[in-house]
Amino acid sequence: MLKISVEKIDELFKAIAEKQTLYIPTDREDGASEYKKYEDGMKLSGNLNTLRSAKDFFFPQTENLADFKMEGKKIEVIDIREEAEDFVVFGVRACDARSFTILDKVFLSDPVDSYYKNRRDHGTIVTMACTKPAETCFCQTFGIDPTEPEGDVACWSDGESIFFKANTEKGQAFVDSVSGLLEDGDTTKLDETKAKTKEIMGKLPLANLSTEAFGGDKLMEHFKSEKWAELSESCLGCGTCTFVCPTCQCYDIKDFNTGNGIKRFRCWDSCMYSDFTKMAHGNIRNSQLERFRQRFMHKLVYFPSNNNGEFGCVGCGRCMSKCPISMNIVKVMKALEVK
């Protein structure tokens, strides 16, 4: 398999960054890891569990949809869309890579969202197999193998070298473009690394979490569950869980008057917010219980109902580590699976 030695990774990044924008996970001062645009000297973080996911590059928190010019009674629509520039997101975990399968089902289904598609067409996702799964990880619950990540290009590290395998045409083009830096390598040690990771996976606290109790056919059963009251009791409705989630896709559309024309924006929204469904004649989800239930029903029941059983969660664990009251999808699943 093609590989590069770990010492030469900076050379590889430089070579990529010369041709297109490259984002890599890098350590912040406070120890968390975060995607940043690569610049010379930047170091790849050893922690791929980034604060925010790679979703941001394809479905940004805010984006301009269209501009309008108003003159008297006349309106002019200005199509501000431009072909995106090629970019590479390096070091995406297997769970985060799977989130694109879910987002694609939403944004690439008819009618195609051209804003998202534009970035999908131009972005190359280079994944990296996990070697240090965290206690909050439960990707395997959703059938994801963190040692065999998807993505345009999959990478593995055995501590000494990084190995590359192209999965798509775009991925092959990427590998070809840096092939001068790659050499053929032996995977014996890599196979050991994978086996070790699998062993850790088997011992993770959430290794036995199952989706069996969930899916589209359990709609009324779970909707009517009495457990929601206790589960949602302390939820602050802060929306953190939705913002860090790689599969959450709710958005709002808002106009902004610049004084020199109108800009229409799309921005992330959250079903956890009280005004999300507010209407002239009332609100269909008046209590935090209803809003909390919506978030988890969507991921565990509604989404699979509409997508051949595929769940709307990839087990990345972000909502577990970031919720201020330590509520999360795992607690919800554990509570609901007990009849």
Partner: protein
């Protein structure tokens, strides 16, 4: 990149405004032709489908296309003033341009399930807007349908939307039975007085009819209960749902009832379909 995106709207121009009731105006909208003149429709639709209208900088809102698809000259929207965007729309003058995108949602099954059926339309207030499109579609394809009866009620005579069309065209049509009602006695009104759900029960319509109901949630609730008492089943009653919307294409995550998006899978539902969903509406 895709040449078109449904989120980027077309431009329409308001060519006529009718004050229907104290808080409802009906707007005629035309497309702008390449030579700059206003004529025709911005797009085709089926009865029950909606469009997103907007004044950039003010906001965007979903509205039923109240004109019939058989009308090739223009599109119409009956809009109730209730907030920021709708107040702005009410302040418009003829010639004002607006943005418009659509058509969105499913439609009343006029070419399938409703074909050949006796039809009973029941509307309350602004709820006439989506039904008016079906009624005029049925009138223009009269041979495809059986009996047609319309029961329509509002707070007062002044609150009956499209009153002129109702008395001049629908009531004058020998093939249609029209029953109007208002909530309270009013000078100059010698028609029926009373709430829609009660009036429906009094009229005791034949069980052969397929029913289409639109109106305030409370009216729908009581009317459905009344129909069931009369012996109607949920499989013969249709309605439209109204939830907060932004994208109108099932992507912004805002308008779901259980696993159905009202903007995409609705707004038209048969009551037995709603039975299988959580009552979050």
């Amino acid at each position: 990149m895709n040449a078109i995106d449904t989120l980027i709207p077309h431009i329409g121009v308001v060519t006529d405004i009718r004050q229907d009731t104290p808080d409802v105006k009906t707007f005629r909208v035309n497309a702008i032709q390449p030579d700059g003149t206003a004529s025709g429709k911005v797009f085709e639709h089926m009865p029950g489908q909606c469009a997103m209208l907007s004044i950039p900088g003010v906001g965007e809102g979903m509205f039923s296309i109240t004109s019939s698809p058989t009308n090739n000259e223009f599109m119409e929207f009956s809009i109730k003033k209730c907030g920021c965007l709708t107040s702005w729309l009410h302040a418009m003058e003829v010639g004002q341009q607006i943005t418009i995108r659509g058509p969105y949602g499913n439609n009343f099954p006029v070419e399938t399930e409703l074909k050949g059926k006796d039809l009973l339309f029941i509307a309350g207030g602004i709820g006439l807007a989506p039904l008016r499109s079906v009624i005029n579609y049925v009138r223009d394809n009269r041979e495809n349908y059986g009996d047609v009866q319309i029961i329509y009620g509002s707070r007062s005579k002044d609150d009956l939307v499209d009153y002129q069309e109702i008395i001049n065209e629908w009531e004058a049509d020998p093939n249609i039975q029209v029953n109007l009602t208002i909530d309270r006695e009013q000078e100059g009104w010698d028609g029926h007085v009373g709430f829609v759900p009660n009036y429906v029960k009094e009229l005791n319509p034949s069980l052969s009819k397929t029913v289409l109901i639109c109106g305030p949630p409370i009216m729908i609730k009581f009317t459905l209960a009344g129909l069931k008492e009369l012996g109607f089943t949920e499989t013969q009653v249709y309605t439209t749902m109204e939830l907060r919307m932004k994208c109108a294409v099932g992507k912004c995550g805002r308008c779901n009832i259980g696993d159905k998006y009202v903007c995409k899978d609705g707004p038209v539902f048969r009551f037995d379909q709603l039975d299988e969903l959580p009552d979050e509406y």
